[in-house]
Structure formats: C-alpha cells, structure tokens
C-alpha cells in the first residue's frame, strides 16, 4: 500500500502539487493527466529529487520523505525516467548490476539475479552489449530489468511507452504486468497512453494543474466527465 498524504509542492509562486492524496493498493496503478499536471513532480517527490512543502508518503509504514534519494533506492524504491538513463560505456549487464552494487550479498548471487531479470525482459542474449549500441526499446528493456533487481518494494515508470511502436508498447505492458509476480513490488506508471494505462493499471490517479481531480478504478475514472474535460477541454458555445 502506497499512501500519498496531502502533498504540496511549490516552485516560487507556482503551486505544482496542491494537497494531493491517494492510496494505491493494487499491484499496478497509474497516474495520468495532461501536460503540466504535476505527474512527474509527484514522482520526483517520491524519489526525493523534489522536496515537498508538506505532506507525507508512506509505503508499508515507512515514511519515504525522511530518506535521501539514494537511501530510498537502497530501501527498495526504483524509478525510470522519461529518457532511459542507460550508461553508454557500460554493458547491459553492468547497467543492471549497478542497481544492486550496494547490496550486502555475494557477487554470485547478485550476478544470478541480474541474469534472471535480463532473462525476464528478453535481454539475456545481449547482456554483453554496450549501452551505446542499444536501440530505444532495448534501452527501455534494460531499464525495466534494472528496476526489478534487488527486491524492490515500489517501482515507478515515467512515460515508459514514449516513442515505442504499438507492438513494443504491448510487450512493455506485458512485462509491467508481470513485475508483481516476479518481485512482489507495487508499480506506479505515468503515461499519456490511456490505452496502455487502462490495460495494465487497476486504479489510477488523475491530476490537473497540480490537483487531484479523480482517483479510483481505472475504467470508471476514464469515464468521469471531469477527466474527459481535463484531457479534451470543455465545449464553450458562443451565441
């Protein structure tokens, strides 16, 4: 259970998030909203890259806001970025291994886990390839494997389907759906692709101008007139 409690973030005079609250209990949940709604800001607050003015974020009783960003990763928080952050001069294997370098485990156990996750995402045969030689989808797959190693508790994907083809997005969705069975982690997905969100997420939070405008079962939320208005705008009849 991820509990986001009354989170407010200001950048000078701009209120990026205004008292946002939500409790995610499903294995895969979504956060959607138009551009500038505050989705990535919320993800940055959870990651520790942005400091919230007030509020709290709890997962299984642990208040994440008290931890520095790298300690949140040690605790079990994983995230991907809109642009896949894969080091060009490291191999696929090393790009994943870096996530659990801090773990107090024998090297053989860490290596076995990396191999297992690369197998899961379908990158095991390209484990020795350098980051610079990967295409966009391979970089995204490596990113997913990286998020899955080291017993994660919460994984967040920021627009993972951006720039991918329909088939690749389909495959990506299948992989994200399997994360909970593989690792036991809860997953939060931000994406503009409503089709992807409605396929893989059980519930979703909708933000607009930093405010929560809807939260609940994904299909019900997408049918909500307020959500439609946020995405499509409202009709204004001029007489």
């Amino acid at each position: 259970m991820i509990e986001i409690g009354n989170v407010t973030v200001r950048f000078g005079g701009v209120v990026a998030l205004s008292g946002v609250s939500a409790s995610f209990a499903q294995p895969v949940s979504g956060i959607i909203g138009p551009n500038g709604a505050g989705k990535t800001t919320l993800m940055n607050v959870i990651s520790g890259f942005v400091t919230a003015e007030s509020g709290e974020i709890r997962k299984d009783g642990q208040n994440l806001l008290g931890l520095s960003p790298y300690r949140r990763a040690h605790w079990g928080l994983r995230r991907s970025f809109q642009k896949e952050e894969i080091a060009n001069d490291l191999s696929v294997f090393d790009n994943v291994l870096v996530q659990i370098d801090h773990a107090r485990q024998p090297a053989s156990k860490r290596h076995a886990e990396v191999e297992r996750m690369l197998e899961y995402v379908g990158m095991a045969d390209r484990a020795g390839r350098l980051g610079r030689d990967l295409n966009k989808f391979e970089r995204r797959l490596t990113d997913i494997a990286k998020c899955m190693v080291g017993n994660p508790k919460l994984i967040m994907f920021d627009e993972p389907g951006g720039g991918l083809s329909i088939e690749e997005t389909q495959r990506l969705g299948d992989l994200i759906l399997g994360i909970h069975d593989q690792t036991g982690a809860q997953t939060l997905v931000i994406d503009h692709d409503v089709e992807l969100i409605s396929r893989i997420c059980s519930d979703t939070l909708v933000l607009d101008f930093g405010r929560r405008i809807a939260f609940g079962e994904v299909h019900a939320v997408l049918a909500d007139p307020k959500v439609k208005a946020a995405y499509l705008g409202t009709e204004e009849v001029v007489e």
Binding site: R78, E85, Q99
Partner: protein, 335 residues
Amino acid sequence: MQRNLFHVTPSGWAGLAFAAFAFLVIPAVAGQLWLSVFTSASCFALAAAGVAFMYARLGMVSLTQVGLMGVGGWVMLRLNHAFHLPFEINLVISGLVTMMCGWVLALPALRLRGLYLALVTLMAAGGLEIIFATFQFPNGGDGFWGVKTGSAAPFARPWLAQTPEAYLRYTVLVVILGFLLIEAHRRLAPGRAWALIRRSEAAAMAAGVNIVLYKTWAFGISGLLGGVAGGLLAGSLGLLDDATFRASESVMLFALAVVGGARYWLGVVIAATLFRVLPALLNNWGVDADISYVIFGAGLLHAVITAPNGIAGQIHDLFGKRRKAEAGEKGAGDD
C-alpha cells in the same frame, strides 16, 4: 557475460607490451639526459592518468593536478630530509597526503559542475603556485619549511633503484600499478557508479549510488596518483623547483590529456610524451622548445574539431574498423 576483472582486452595487451618495452628496452638504450626526461615523462603520465580518468569517467575537469604533484613532492622531500624512513614509506605518505587534498577539492565538486568546477580547481592550483613560490621546496634546511641556501642535502633513492636506469624502471613499475588501479576501479562497483554519475546524477541516485562518496573517492584517487607522481619526480631529481608546478602546467597537462585521448592508456602516454619528451627533443635538435606550445595548440584544435576521443581514440577506431572489416571478410568467405 559480465567482464571478468582479469580479462585482458586487445588494448590491454598492447598496453602491457608497451609497458614491457618501457621497462626493459628504454632504460637499457637511453643516455643520461634521456633517462631523466623519460623518468619525468613517466611521472607526468601517472599524474595525467588521474586527470584523464576523472574527465573520461566522471566528466569532471580538475586543473589542480600538477599542483598536487607539487604537494606530493614537497611531502616527499620534507620526509626524506627530516627522517630516515625507506623511500617507499615516504612515497605512500606523500600519496595519502595528496589523496586527502583531493578529498578537500571534492567539496566544491559536490555542488559545482563543468566550467565552475574547473575554475575552482584552477584557483586551488593558483593558491598552491603562490605557496610553492613563497616557501620553496625543502632541501635539507631547518624548521618546518626545511629550506636552506647553498647546495641541497642528499636524497635517498629506493634501495632497489640507486642508478638512473633502475630508477626509470622503478618509476615505470609504479606507473603501471597506477594504471592498473584505475582499470580495476573501472571494472568494479566504483567504475559502474562513475559511469552512471557521468550519464546523470539523478539516474545515479535512483540506482542507489552515493554521489558524495563516489565523487570524493574519484578526487581522492586522482590526488593519490598526483602525489605519488610528485614523490617520484622528487626522487628523480633530488630537489624540486617551484616553476615546475605552476597553475598553467596543470591546464596544459589537462589539455594534453584531451589531445591524447583521456579514455585510453595510450592517450595518457601521448599526453606525457608531448608534455615532457617533445620539448626535450626540440632542445636536442637546437630548436626553441617553446615551439612545442604551437604544436600543443594545433593538437588541441585537432582534438576539438575532429577527434573528440583524442589521438588514441582515432587509433583505437582505426583498429576497430580493421577488426570489423577482417571479421566481415571472414564471414563473407564462410558464406
């Protein structure tokens, strides 16, 4: 799958072959003057390896390296004249002192990047230049600074390397150890962390990398190499001159590491050769050694315009293309 710590790449084999050549052949054939030049070049290669790895692996520019060599040299001379400890112990202490200096330099690096970080390190080099010019290097005098007028007190070289030939071999061996230290780091957790920091600090933090620890670590290693290089230089000459450790020399060493190719061992060797051997060669030919600055400038323009990975990068790419072409031909032949 993952690269073994002891796996030797083709570039690694070439490096080992060159190291064997530098260890066995050069000391055997070089005259007295050239032994001194090559020893000095080896010391600067070790120092250049420190700045090169910081730039290539973390994208951080440090312009204090020659100043740190001066600190290492100062400590080495001070210890030599004050105590009668073995050379190796003095060398280790010199390296540890400059490693700590590196940690202090890392403090601004935690907040600054790019040009601003380079400027801060340049200011540190400027400060060291003033200290060296004011207090000079110990030469066996009394007091803390240990400076006296007249001839310098004798310097105790390593027991194993009393002659110039043996000292060059000794220096080459330490330089090889320095290169191996960097390579081992590159292949282990610090290398992975540095690669990710270079890519994006946010991504590194999200991967659980302690940015403060690993940046400080990198500065410490660079400082260690600089200090050991300075200690070896002090051992080569027996005394040091403040003109060797001007801030401009640190800028020059960094620029030559870029010209040579900061990502490769060969680039560091090229940098040290241009820095120390080329001026000596010009002098030997009766040409003004300042011509070397013109050559350095042309080399820098070449690197900026056509060779982002330096001369060594171009050579590496050339061999890479040849290997691929050969593999292609073999594949076509198999068909």
